[in-house]
Each structure stands twice: as structure tokens, then as C-alpha cells.
Symmetry: D2
Subunit: 437 residues, 4 copies
């Protein structure tokens, strides 16, 4: 028996994951996929379950059971892996976060700034609830967390539960493919050394068949090649900056180093009549997707899902699950306890870096120290993350205010205080931990 529970099974991403599992069924002989969702998501999860069924059948995998649950306990019991891809408050809450940021002239993306903060407050208690059930009902299972802000959520689970947890993100794998493309080389001949935090990661070395080609990649990026992702605006990096840095920042670094341009772009999109904030765009895409998914003729992942922004998500998820299940010891980039790998961060800090992944979990490769600029930003964001976790777990307004202040996309006290009030008011339904204080 090999059961995978998918918390947030009604997500529009699930078909992507299905495709990954189907393609690697020889490595991952799953016997049951248990889709869990809330009552409000009943319609969606049923659509997904039926599509999953059709996809499996079409691929001659009738033996794989697809079950739908509205009880966590039921789904988690007996699972080998628990995938968490839930969204507390749905996209509406995310859109509210983004609009709140813009109201204050700030970027409020779902993993950083006021958006990441608000999402973490909503999400952490729910994930900890999942983790406590896993401890009890499937103590050997690994939680594979996709839920954003993935680094923060993974650290919360890692520090406040005994469940085994690994956070995954598609940014590193996207960068890997893009850089391989730039080098016109097959991606498995290219190795990247990653260090940092989720959505705050750098590639400090690129090798091609073992030879260091970092400078060559940086030169290409300076010459106009771009390194970006669907959901991040394609603003090229300054050549002087890249050469001075000597490393390749992930696209999300644009929020910190190109703040005015990024903000202007977001403000423009958010104007009436334009495409809307990221969440608002995604809501439209999702509506389209579910219409497609519901079509009883459809038995494969539709191409339109690629607009959703999760390219390679299933690749990285299935790689991680397979490397654990098959004890492969592959070198993968995931989010896990630092354990001394990046110096200057606590052992308990969750970092995003190259790990050996085997049946015992993810083991980061010792990285040493980050250069000063990278260390400075990483420490600052890690402080934001730690404070956010404390605020979310304990419903502590003091820590919440400090968390907002610690994020460089928020900055000053006047705005931080106003934002905190609005976040707590807007999300009252999702933040019971703050009610008793």
C-alpha cells in the first residue's frame, strides 16, 4: 500500500501533480491518492477527482485509487506522504492582501511583504493542525509542503511539530532549466549551487559538465538574456549589479532590488480596466481551468495550466517524493532545517539549498558563509520569518508588528501599524489565535 494524501486536493495544480505521478509511476507505484478539501471546496475537489480518475484510466492505471475526503484524519491515516497545497481564505484573501499593499504604496506579494505576512498568519495554524494529525495518524509520513509562503510555513511546522517536513518550490528548478537553455546544454549536464531562503535564493555557482561557467552565465544575463518566470515581470538585471554580485539572484529578488519599477508595474495592472493583481488574474485563469477540468472528455493536463505559474512544480514534487521513496540520495534543492549548512543562521532555520534527499529526509550540503550582501538580506528576511511564525503561532500582536517592520517591503512604523490593524481586521475569520488577546 502506498498512499499519498493531498491536502487542498481541489487545487487547480492537482492535474499537474497527476501528470507527474503518472509519468513516473514506475518509480512511484502509488496505490491511493486521497484528495482532501474543505466543504466549501466540495465542487472543485470533485471535478479534480474525476479528472484524475480519467487521467489514470487513460494511462492504464486503473489500479490507482482516487478518494475524496472532507476529514483530515481519514485522508492522513496510513499515508506515506502528505502533500499540503492548501489556501486558507482562497484567492479572495490573497487579492485582498495585494490590494491592501497597493493601498499603502507597497508590494504585497504572497510570500513577502504584507501579503506574505498575512498569508502566513492565516496558514500556519492550519498547517500545524495537519502536522499534529500526521504525528498521530501517520508518524512515518513526510509532509511535502507546497503552501506559500513555503519557507515560513515549513519552518513553522519544523519547529512546532515533530512531523517530518520538507518544503518545495519550483523556483530553483525553473532557474535550472532556464540556465541550461542559456548554455544550450541538457539540464542534467548543468549543476547549480543554491543558497538562501525560499524566494530569496541565489545561484552562487554554475558548472557545465563539472567546469565552472558562472561568469559565462552572468555575462549572458548581462547581454540581455533574461531569467524570469511567468509570474514575475521580466525586468532585466543591471549588468553592473550582476557582475558585482558574482551570483545569480532568483526572480523574486526583483522585489527587493527593483522595488520602484516592480511597484509601478503592479499599480498599473491593478488599475480599473487592466488585468488586475496577480491573484485577480489567477482567479480568472482558475475559473477557465475548472471549466476545462469539468469536461468529461478531458483526460490530460490542459495546456492552459501553464499560465497558472507553477511550471515544474510537479517535477520537483515528484522528484522529492521519489528520492525519499526509493532512497535515491539525489541532490535536490528543497527547504529544510539548516543544521549548520549556511553559517550565521540558526540550526532550526529553514533554508533553501542543495540537499541530499533519501529515505531519512533532506540533508543539506554544507555551504559555508554567504557573502556580506547576501547575508545581510538573508538575515533580515529570516528575522521577518521568525517573527511572523511567533506571531502566527501565539497570536502575538507585538511579534506581528515587529515582523512587519522587519520586512524591507514594509519599512516604517506608521505604515506597519496601520497595515497590522487592517490585516487583523480583514482576516478576522481566519485568525482565531489573535482573538483572545
Amino acid at each position: 500500500m502506498f498512499k499519498i494524501a493531498i491536502i487542498g486536493g481541489g487545487s487547480s495544480y492537482t492535474p499537474e501533480l497527476m501528470e507527474g505521478i503518472i509519468n513516473r509511476y514506475n518509480q512511484l507505484p502509488v496505490t491511493e491518492l486521497a484528495l482532501v478539501d474543505t466543504e466549501q471546496g466540495r465542487n472543485k475537489v470533485n471535478i479534480i477527482a474525476e479528472l484524475a480518475r480519467r487521467m489514470l484510466d487513460k494511462n492504464a492505471l486503473k489500479q490507482v485509487k482516487v478518494s475524496v475526503h472532507f476529514s483530515l484524519d481519514e485522508a492522513i491515516t496510513g499515508a506515506s506522504f502528505v502533500l499540503t497545497q492548501l489556501r486558507v481564505g482562497q484567492l479572495a484573501a490573497r487579492a485582498a492582501d495585494e490590494r491592501l499593499g497597493l493601498k499603502y504604496g507597497l508590494l504585497g506579494q504572497e510570500t513577502t511583504g504584507v501579503g506574505g505576512f498575512a498569508k502566513a498568519l492565516r496558514t500556519i495554524p492550519v498547517l500545524l493542525d495537519v502536522a499534529r494529525k500526521v504525528e498521530k495518524l501517520a508518524p512515518d509520513a513526510f509532509i511535502i509542503n507546497f503552501t506559500n509562503p513555503a519557507g515560513i510555513v515549513t519552518e513553522a511546522v519544523s519547529r512546532y511539530s515533530n512531523a517530518k517536513v520538507i518544503g518545495v518550490c519550483n523556483v530553483p528548478v525553473n532557474m535550472h532549466h532556464m540556465i541550461a537553455d542559456m548554455l544550450k546544454a541538457p539540464w542534467d549536464e548543468v549543476n547549480l549551487r543554491f543558497a538562501g531562503l525560499n524566494h530569496l535564493v541565489w545561484v552562487t555557482q554554475v558548472t557545465l559538465r563539472g567546469q565552472d561557467v558562472t561568469d559565462q552565465v552572468i555575462s549572458s544575463l548581462c547581454d540581455g538574456e533574461t531569467l524570469t518566470m511567468n509570474n514575475i515581470k521580466e525586468l532585466p538585471w543591471s549588468p553592473a549589479f550582476l557582475r558585482a554580485l558574482g551570483a545569480i539572484p532568483c526572480p523574486y529578488h526583483r522585489y527587493y532590488w527593483q522595488t520602484p519599477e516592480m511597484l509601478a508595474e503592479e499599480q498599473k495592472k491593478a488599475k480599473v480596466g487592466n488585468e488586475g493583481t496577480r491573484a485577480e488574474q489567477v482567479m480568472k485563469v482558475e475559473a477557465e481551468l475548472f471549466k476545462l477540468y469539468a469536461n468529461p472528455q478531458l483526460a490530460h493536463k490542459p495546456e492552459q495550466l501553464s499560465f497558472r505559474g507553477g511550471a515544474y512544480y510537479s517535477e520537483v514534487a515528484v522528484e522529492v517524493i521519489s528520492s525519499i521513496y526509493n532512497n535515491s540520495g539525489k541532490n535536490l534543492v528543497v527547504n529544510c532545517r539548516n543544521n549548520g549548512a549556511i553559517q550565521g543562521l540558526p540550526d532550526s532555520a529553514v533554508v533553501e539549498t542543495n540537499c541530499i534527499v533519501d529515505a531519512q529526509g533532506a540533508h543539506p550540503i554544507a555551504f559555508g558563509s554567504l557573502p556580506p550582501l547576501m547575508n545581510g538580506l538573508t538575515q533580515q528576511i529570516k528575522a521577518f520569518e521568525q517573527l511572523t511564525i511567533e506571531a502566527a503561532v501565539h497570536g502575538d500582536r507585538h511579534q506581528a508588528l515587529l515582523a512587519l517592520l522587519g520586512n524591507p517591503l514594509v519599512g516604517d512604523i506608521t505604515r506597519a501599524e496601520a497595515l497590522l490593524d487592517e490585516v487583523l481586521t480583514l482576516n478576522k475569520a481566519y485568525l482565531p489565535q489573535f482573538s483572545s488577546h
Copy 2:
């Protein structure tokens, strides 16, 4: 023989220092004060020397020699202490830094932001030159550095020379007096625990006759008492912020946490017809002061010097010198090598914290870890400082750009690149280290 060399002897602060030395002559039986300045400063240093002479004579200290030098070697040879309070490019360069910041909508104060950066580039090579002469001509002497940005300059000397160096600043002693006043207690019954960097320091504990009264002080600050200094705008701290922080930030923290308000204020002052930037105000004050100093009737520190902003500077300087000279082992707040005192910062980082000061130098008391928000900002600013030092010592444009980016008062790449170009152009005369690159 007990000689003190004062590099930048023509500074308007020197009478303050004279007063301190005169008042503590029983602890510090100085035999010679060697004032050094550049040829351009000949007039000023002569005025100061004559005033110093008159002050000594009036206090029946005829035996103390006052000498004037335009050669470092001459002044340093045989000195027990070398005080550095020089200003490369004079106040004009500082004013240019401030105006440059404002042009880009930024705060550019002389210890942080683009101002601190530019001043460090100009100053570090000159201080290293002094340090190398001290190594050779007065190897047992202590350099007591007052030159801003004091933390950065002290770290540069500490890392790039073998001279003994301690950095001093009047912020901690000002906070000490103000908090004692708030508590209506004599200042020697109040103890403060400081940790952080120069102009980025926090008081993490206040005790009154040994009892912890930190919360009481925070409450007073929340109730409207203010904690500020002449040269920093009196913007009260938000009570919610102070209570969440549980510590007392030094006034310079306002630059980071109250940025929009501080910037608005600076912009207002800088408008034509208003009082001008800080350097511009100081220039006026200095012109007044030197007129007073030149008066052959004047034989004491004039009251107007208090507007200059250096209250207690002589107190802290004389305390440090006396504690070394007399091997007193006093608990003083100075800038010195971290040596593990604040966890998470390198041993070689210069920090501002409570130290035991004796004939062997300054020995920081182990502090442990800073709480997350403080650690995040401290790490970020330390990265800025390290990068600035590397840029200044090696004339390295790459490090210079990263330094600017690392400072939270600069922020984004577009502005950082433009600022760097302007800084290097405006300061060409003072930055030979960048010419050969």
C-alpha cells in the same frame, strides 16, 4: 612624559576636549597636546591652539605644552594617545553628500545612507595612513577614533592595521544621561546595557540601583518623554513599537523606522530660505564659533558649542583615555572588535557595546544573541559596513555598488548606480584609490 596627539586639532570640538582634560587633569596629567592639521586648516588650528593655551593658563596648567603640527610623523612620535577627529573634504563635502541624497529622495546622513558611504570612502584611506604611522612611531599608543562614520572607520583600522584602536561616540552617554533624567536619578545609579553598532545601538536593559526598570523607562517614553539629541529631530517613538521591541533604540534608528517623516523634515530644511541641511547649519555654527574662539579674552569653552551637537563627547573621550591610562577597568560603551560578544557577528566586526576598558584596551562583555528584529537590521548594516570598507580600502567599484545596495536607506539598483557615479565624480579629489581602476 604624557603626550596626546589630536589629528584634526583644528576642529571646533577641540575646546570641548580641552575642557574635559582640564577638569580631569588630576587623573590625566598630560604634558603635551600636539594639534595636527592640514595646511588648509592652518588658520583654524592656530586659533584653537591659542584658545587651548589660554584655557590651560587660566586653570593654572602652564606646565602643559600645546604644540601645532602640519606633519603627522612629528605629532605622533612619542604619543600615548592619538585622537582622530578629522574631516576629509571639510563640511563642504558633507553638505554635498546630504544634497546628493536629497536629490534622489533619500536620507544621506554622515554615518549612514549615501552620506555615510561617501564619507567612509574619503576617510578610511586617511585613517589607515595615520594607523600605519602609529604602528611605526608610537606602537604602544591607542588610537581613539571620533571620526564618523565611527564604527566603519574603527573597523577599517582594526582590520587593516596592527595599531590599537577604540572608537568613541557620544550617543550612548547621551542616552545614559537622558534616561537617568527620566528616572530622576543620578546617572551613576543607572546602568544601561547597550548592544549593536555605532549609531545603530539599542539599550536592552536599564537598571536603577541594580533593579530592572526597563519597562518603566519604556512606559515613560510611551507617555511622551522623548529621547533624542540635538542633531536628530524629536519625533516621538510609537508606543506600540517600543512596547513590542522591549528595548530603547538610539535616536539614529529613526532614520530606519521613521524614514518618510525624517526625509520630509530634511527636505523641508533644505529648501531655499530654510535652515539648510545639517552640514550647512553646522557650517554657520562653526563660523560663529571660530569668531568666538579667536577672541583673545576667551579662556573657556563657549556655551554656543553646545549647539554643535557633540554634547558629552569630551566626557566619553576623557573617560576612555583615563580608564586606559589609569588601568581602571571601567564599564564604558565604546566601539571595538566583537570577539564573540554579540553572537552572529564575526569576531572581527567592530560593535558598540559595554566594555571593560583598561590598560590593555577595551574588552566587551559577552552579550549573547540579539533578538530577531535587531539581529536582522544589525546584520544588514554590518554587511553595508563591510562592503564599504572593502570598497574604500581597495578602490573596488563592485564592492562599492553592493555597499550602497546593502544600505536600507538606498535600496534599489537604479538609484544605487546613479548615486555611485555621482559620489565618485563629486569626490574624485579625495578618492585616489578609485582612479587606478
Copy 3:
């Protein structure tokens, strides 16, 4: 009201402490000395209490109350300081430890080797019981621990209770006086820098009126001056060793570096007809002392107490208590949490080093890294201490075996296993924590 509770009040050392308190009454205006002992110690504690009374009366301190208690709760309630100088199993248990070591050809001194191990197992649970009562009945009180092995016991209390605790030892103060004598200088003109663990401490620098005279002291030691204490054999250090080390080891280092000679000496003493082991000698001294103490004419500390080995114990104890009580901030050498002061040891490790002692406790001065040889031995002994604490607290035979193996005076598995069996059997009455396992 200023009450000091003395746990183990019937100790022969108490008159030493009384003398210290009487001599510094102006600094320490004690109102009550509460002597606590067990029922078995009733006779002794009464003798001590009466002597204390006579000493106070003779010094016109009738107002100081001396009370005797056989209940911890009663004595601790309302105390400002709780001094712990108890001896579980009395000197008989210590003598048995020493004989056990010798049976196996090993040194088994009361702070290290099998002796220190056995004494720690007996003592830690009792001290933790005291600490828990202090937490409840006198939460602001400081425990001043004299009980050996002082470093281990202090760390156990520091890690397993919330009581404030400082460990004191007379070795540093003895070294201070001896070195001052060697330099023919008043001791307050000599400063020593100490780092290490209790009974494993080094002086890494000696200054005389601020000047470094470490080499001069080492040369004196090489020329035949000796540095030792009453209760440690006067075996001169090898000049080559001292010069190579560049530091001054405390006398207890002889156990580790002159093991064969020290063992031969102990074996000789232990032979029938000779003076006996240290504990056996002390038993004789104590019998004599109590005879003297019981003399109703005696109203001062008798000279014979100096043979007992605790010279300066009262000096250091009274200094520490006074520096806390008067918030003096003196630089004293005590045992407290490392908090990063000595690099490479955990923050929670108790170390012996120079501390600023004030009303908030003991604050170690940052020391940096120990040189390799010192670090190697310190880490090894700290491992022994940590394992001993775990064994003592949890009654864990596994940790107990590893602790014995970790001590370089025990060494091999065969002996360690045999020793452990004997220790547990001989001390069965004092080790309830091992019974349930």
C-alpha cells in the same frame, strides 16, 4: 531585612565565612544567618551556630540573628542569598571515592576522575531540590554554590532550574595572591585573565599596573617559584611546558599533566600508617576543629582552619555577595553560564572566567577562543561534565558510563565499567535516581 541562608551550615568552613561577613559588615549589613543542616548534622550545626553567635557578639554585632534549621523551606523563605556548601554522604563518602580510585590505580579527586563523578551523582539531585525551593520561596535570591564539583553542580542547577546561581571557588583568588606575591606587588595592582572550567582554569595574561608581565611570571615559575595550594602536592611545573604553554595552569592541572607522579604520591599517602587520603586527613582536621569550635571561650576563627584547604574561600564568597548586593560591577572570577564568552563551548556551559558581577548577576567578559591544547582538554572535560549531569539528573547508566569514559583520569572501558558498578553499589543510599532503572 537581609537574610542569608547557609545550606550545610554545620560545615567546618562556616567560621571562615563568618569572619568574612563580620569584616565586611559595613558592606553587607546582614540581619539573619540561617544555618541549615540535616538531622545527622544537628550536633555540628549547633556548635557552629554557637560559635557564630560568639563571634558576632565579640564584634558588637548583636543585631545579627543566627538561626538553625532542619527544614530547607524555613531557611530559604525570604533569603536574599542561599549559600550551598553541603556534602552528601559526608567525608566518609569522599574517602570511599578516593579509595575506590586507588584500588583501580587511578586518581579519584573530589572534582574530577571517579571521585568527582561519584560526588556529582550524589550531590546534583540534592542541589536541584534546593534550587526548586528557591524558585518558589525566594525567587529573587541568588544561589551561591560552593559545593564541589562546583562547576558541574552549578551547571546542573543553571540548566535544570530557573533559580539564579553562581559558582565560586577559591582557586582563582589563591592564584591571584600567589602571583602578586611572586611579583612582590600588592594584589590589587595585579590583574589576571582567567579562562577555563572550575579546577581546569588557566591564567592567560598577568598585568602589573596595566603592563603585561605574563612572561616574567612564567619565568619566575620556571626558576623554581611554585604555584600551588595547601591541598595539592607541590610538584613544580616543567619550564619547557610552561614556556610552550605561555599561560599559567591552576594547580589542579597537575592531575592531568603529571598523572603518574600525582598518583604515586596519593598511593604513598594512602598506605597503612601514612597520613591517609585527602578526605581521611580532612576528617582528622575536622575532628580537631570541632573540638576547638565547641570551646565556649573561642570567639574567632581558629588558625588551624587554614590547614583545611579553603584559604580565601570567604574572601571570594563575600566579594561576590557584596558585588551583587551593592551592585558594584566588580571584575571577579566565578562560575556562570558561558553565553558565548569562551568560543566553542555551548552558551549553556558553565565556565570559570572573569565576570562583571552586579545586582543582575555575573556577566562574563568575552574571551574569544582558547588555544588548541587548552581547548582540547576543556572540551573533553566539559563532555565529561555534561554526561555526568545527564546521568545524575536522569539516573541514566548509559550516560554515566560515557561520562566516566570521557574523563581522562579514567580512560578505558574495562575500568570504567567496573568503576561504574562499584560507584552505584557503594552509593546506593544516595542515588535513588538510579534505582528505578
Copy 4:
């Protein structure tokens, strides 16, 4: 062109290496094997070169060139790998070390105690000379160091040259095979987690197809299975010790934990008429081996080589070389810079632990902290290693004496001083660095 230089090519181990290279020629298409030796070794290296030629020819690898050199420069120029397996002073010097130890009642094995110390003093200057030639003549080459004491020598090269260096040892691979045999499992289904120093390593976890079976392995060892190597006496571990430790020590730990038994055994062997010390036995084996090697009919590694003690040496060497050459990223246990992998040891310390080995070198997987007993011993031995390296590089008698004292197999000052005198006298010819002092 793919050239491997073998420094100490005349070693009796070379045929083992040849076999490894031949068996994996498909992975390692070597074009030249350059054997280097000293003039005194001319005869031996010629015998080896001819045997190598015959082995290659027999395996249809005529295209692989075998060259013999008595000049390092010639051999190193153009090499991709430089294998170092030299022995300064030959086995005679090693035998003298062993006899010297026994004279003082001590174990003096070639990697620890007085033997390891003496061998390091002889070897380090020669290896540093090799490293400096590699820096100049083959800057991209990796030095693969087999020379004992492998950990110490590798750290010396790593710290005092810029050459890339990895140390290899057959202990981990031997343990891997033995434990797999105990589990009756193919060795590639068994994973071991190693941490420690060379010849001081522990297996802290064993997994079988991903499942933790550490306790099962420990139970087997307790039930009489033994874990040892040809050249270490088969003294079973105490079950109580193993269970308390919860880890599997490498056989060389017997020197530290079973010292009396090991010493008795060595003393017995060393008695006239018995088999002699390890070096003396190896001398006989080597004489035999070279007789066999010289036989022009022999074209394979003779079975008798297995008595020499280097089982799997070629396996680990060829694995490491291949993983670098082919950029495989295999998880191998080698000796390299710690870089934070084992907490509490300096970054520059060479450790033995699981590493990812690829074209960029060996990258240790973050291990975290060693448990106390392991940490204590590791720190102590690392201190010995650091002091030995300083002594060897600088010819510093002070550091040399401290090094000997730091090794737990030497211990007290009297013996350490006498041993140092004898080591320096006996090895005068090999220790020019000590002559000028």
C-alpha cells in the same frame, strides 16, 4: 590526455591501485601513469613499473603509458591527479617510532600517539613541497592523499597551500563492507553516516534500504560479531559501551578506549622471537611482495597483498578519482575541509565525513553537532593535529611539546619531554625544519 602522477610509485600498494584502474578503465580512460620515487627507491619503483606494464598489457590496455620519474616536476606537469602515498624514512622510521613508544610503555601507531606525531613531522614538509609544485605545474590537478597520518597531512596541505587536496582512507569503506556483511545485504543497499576525523570516525547511523537499522547493527556487534581490520587486533567492543554510545566506532578507537589491552598485545608482539611490531611485520610482507612482483610471469595483483592491510584502498581511491573525473556527485567518505559540516570544529579543520564528490571537489554534508563524548575526543585529537601541523611547518619545539601532550596516548609531561627529545634526535635527517631553531 589523462595523466595520473603517483608520488611514492614504488609502494607495495601500487599494484592494488593498478587493479582498480584497470577494472574501471571504462570510467577512467587514463593515458599515462607517472610513477615517482626517490633515488633510494629506484629498484622498487622499477619493479612496480614493470609489473604495472604487464598488468595493463594482459588487460589489453597497451595504450596506457607507464613512466618512471625521479623528478617531481616532470611527473606532476600536466597531471590531472597527483596521488601521494610516500613514506619518508621508509618502514624503518615507522618501526623506530613504534619501538620508541613501547620503550615508554605507550602505543605509537603511525597515525596517532608518538608514532603519528613523528611521522607527521617527517611527512608534512615533503607533502607541502609536492603541493607547491602542483600549484605551479598542474594547478587544476587534485592531490589525492593516501599518506598517513592522512587527516593531519591533508589538513597541512589544505591550510598551507592553494592546491586542491582530498584525503582518502580505507577505514570507512571497510566498515561499510563489514556492516553490510553483518546485515547479509549487498553493500549498495546499506548507507552509513560517518562523522569524525581520520582514524577517529564514528558511524552514527546505518540504514538498510532507507530504514534505520543502527540498533540492529549494534546488537549484532554486542552479540559477538566483530568489526575490525587486518591490522587492528580483534578485541570485541563491550556491549554496554556500544549501547551507551549508540554509534559504531571505527577499529582505531580501540587505541583510546581499550588502551591497556592494545598495549599489552603490542608489547607481546614486539618481544624478541615474536612477530614484531606492525612495521616490522609489514617489512617482511613487503620483502615477500617485492619478490613476487619481480617475477616476470606475474601480471596481476597477488593475493598476498591482502595481508598488507590496505583492503579496498584502491576501491576508495578509484571511486574518488572517478567521481571527480566524471563529475558524478557520489556520496563518498573522504577527508576534506570541514566548512561548518561538523559544528564546533573550525571551518579549516579537515574532517572525515560523507561528502558529495564532483568535479569541483568534495562537499561535506552538514552533520550538526557530535554528541558530547565524541565531541570531547574529537576536539582533543584535533588539537593534537593542529599543534602537530604547526610544529611540522614551523619547526617549533614549543608546539611540538604541546602536540605530544595533547595526544591522550602520551599524556604526562615527563614522558612527553623525553619522547620529544628522542623523536627529534632519531629523525634528525628528516627534520631540517627543526635544525635552525
